[in-house]
């Protein structure tokens, strides 16, 4: 919270004097206990899914794009058979259940930018996002605000991320609202022609893979860096 680092916390409605646990914490613990007691799932199954959820993130997706930039044959594979290509970066879309992560399904497609088309993803209905290869979606991606506006005012929303697209570039918004999951493959930026995969991965940020930013030599962080801290943080996220 770079511009908001003073002590008092006027934005929180709940500012307990004692470190009280919240209604949602109570409900979550109660449900988990009853599920385990009734054998709805086992503690071991819960632990396995927790471990899976803690290790997903955007790194495999960045490697996939870097490999595609470096190897035209791999790029063809990535666009034609994206789930096969995902295995090359360590992601098996059927994990961890044998039929995938229940909320993400197993229909993945990569949208390749061209010199005249820029792709950007949204889920106007909830927060559909290619979690197995890109990790959990950022908070702003889930807001009604982003979902309401991106499908109708994409250029304005992109401008708020600092991405000003000229009229010669067509915007293609992909509203991933059913079972398909999408990610964007941006164009390799100028000045990176002789870079290695490891160097390229540094500039292929999560925001570039959503389509709200373009990769650029020297830029290795997401556009949105302000992070609201949790009161009782979990392991991931």
């Amino acid at each position: 919270m770079t511009d908001h680092d003073h002590d008092h916390d006027h934005e929180r409605t709940v500012a307990p004097m004692v470190d009280e646990i919240t209604d949602f914490e109570v409900l979550e613990i109660a449900l988990r206990e009853l599920c385990i007691e009734k054998g709805i799932f086992t503690a071991e199954e819960h632990r396995l899914m927790t471990e899976f959820a803690e290790q997903i993130g955007p790194t495999p997706a960045a490697h996939l794009v870097a490999k595609a930039w470096l190897d035209p044959e791999f790029k063809k594979l990535a666009l034609a058979e994206p789930m096969t290509a995902s295995k090359e970066v360590g992601v098996d879309w059927l994990h961890p259940t044998g039929w995938g992560t229940p909320s993400d399904f197993t229909a993945f497609q990569i949208l390749a930018d061209t010199p005249t088309v820029h792709n950007v993803i949204v889920c106007a209905l909830c927060s559909c996002y290619p979690r197995p290869i890109l990790g959990n979606s950022p908070e702003w991606y889930r807001t009604p605000n982003y979902r309401r506006r991106l499908v109708r005012w994409p250029r304005q929303v992109l401008a708020e991320f600092g991405l000003y697209l000229p009229d010669e570039i067509t915007v293609h918004v992909q509203d991933s609202n059913q079972k398909h999951r999408f990610m964007v493959m941006p164009l390799q930026p100028e000045g990176t022609e002789d870079w290695t995969e490891e160097q390229l991965v540094e500039i292929i940020t999560r925001d570039c893979l959503i389509g709200v930013a373009l990769p650029k030599a020297g830029v290795t962080t997401n556009v949105i860096t302000d992070t609201r801290p949790a009161i009782h943080p979990g392991a991931a996220g």
């Binding site: 109660a30 009853l34 927790t50 059927l94 259940t97 889930r142 009604p144 991933s176 059913q178 949105i224």
Partner: protein
């Protein structure tokens, strides 16, 4: 124990929460509502695409432990055949109603969906759940005070009598939607076909967004076979149909579109929502 004044104050707080047209009274007479307002009230509340809103500051958020654990519970319930993702999406994103949908945190709705499905499907009694919540609350009566947030199940059930769906075994080794392949017959449309999105009446649930209903688009891809969301979401057998990625020109779709004439949006639509464009 609450005081009479505290009870009154909470009732006052609830009374200020509005999810209705301010020009209409509560429970209006039928003749006071026109078709457009009835449609607005019945609109699945998750369908926010295209609704006007002002720019806001976008931020990231660190997860609370309960948020992370809620995501995990939802996935484990899917894995173990208690619900399909499509049931979760309806229960947590639509059935909650407008006030809770807009008023609660993202994972708060997911968590309520867990409680809802377990109670509705008779896995957990509601009083049993309330009593356990009271018990957990009591455990942390003085606040966390050095304790960690943890579940302490009193036993581990064997689960053999728990009623589960067949999805895990049907999708095993294939995935979803691959598990529905070959069940929808011939696809009615092909890439490049002009189509119009039907304006079917909507109650309860659909994932065909309001902003494309009645609009003309073009088939961009023949995607996969699956039951439509409004059929798959009720935990009963549902017939798969073809899904299509349909592309719309944004300037045609939105009156007063401010981008270029070439900007497009694509979204996925099941076959029964589409008809050939004349």
């Amino acid at each position: 124990m609450s005081t009479a004044a505290e009870r009154a104050a909470q009732l006052d707080l609830v009374a200020r929460l509005k999810s209705a047209y301010p020009e209409l009274p509560d429970a209006p007479y039928p003749d006071m509502l026109d078709h457009d307002r009835i449609t607005a009230y019945l609109k699945p509340v998750h369908d926010v695409g295209g609704e006007p809103d002002a720019p806001m500051k976008y931020v990231n958020k660190q997860y609370e432990l309960w948020e992370h654990m809620t995501y995990v519970i939802c996935e484990v319930l899917g894995w173990r055949g208690i619900w399909l993702s499509e049931e979760r999406r309806r229960i947590g994103n639509v059935d909650v109603g407008r006030a809770e949908y807009l008023g609660l945190p993202y994972y708060g709705r997911w968590l309520l969906a867990v409680a809802r499905v377990l109670v509705e499907k008779h896995h957990i009694g509601l009083t049993e759940l309330s009593e356990r919540m009271a018990e957990v609350k009591e455990r942390y009566a003085g606040g966390l005070d050095g304790k960690t947030l943890e579940a302490a199940p009193k036993s581990e059930g064997d689960g053999s009598q728990v009623k589960r769906n067949k999805h895990a075994e049907e999708a095993d080794g294939k995935g979803d939607p691959q598990c529905y392949a070959g069940q929808a017959g011939n696809a009615k449309f092909k890439v490049g076909d002009p189509v119009v999105v039907r304006e079917l009446p909507v109650i309860f649930y659909t994932r065909t967004p309001e902003y494309v209903r009645g609009a003309k688009g073009e088939i961009e891809a023949v995607a996969y076979e699956s039951p439509a969301a409004e059929d798959e979401t009720w935990d009963r057998p549902a017939k798969p149909e073809w899904f299509y990625v349909v592309r719309f020109n944004m300037a045609d779709l939105f009156d007063g579109y401010t981008g270029t004439a070439d900007d497009v949006i694509s979204t996925e639509i099941p076959e029964h929502w589409l008809e050939s464009a004349k």
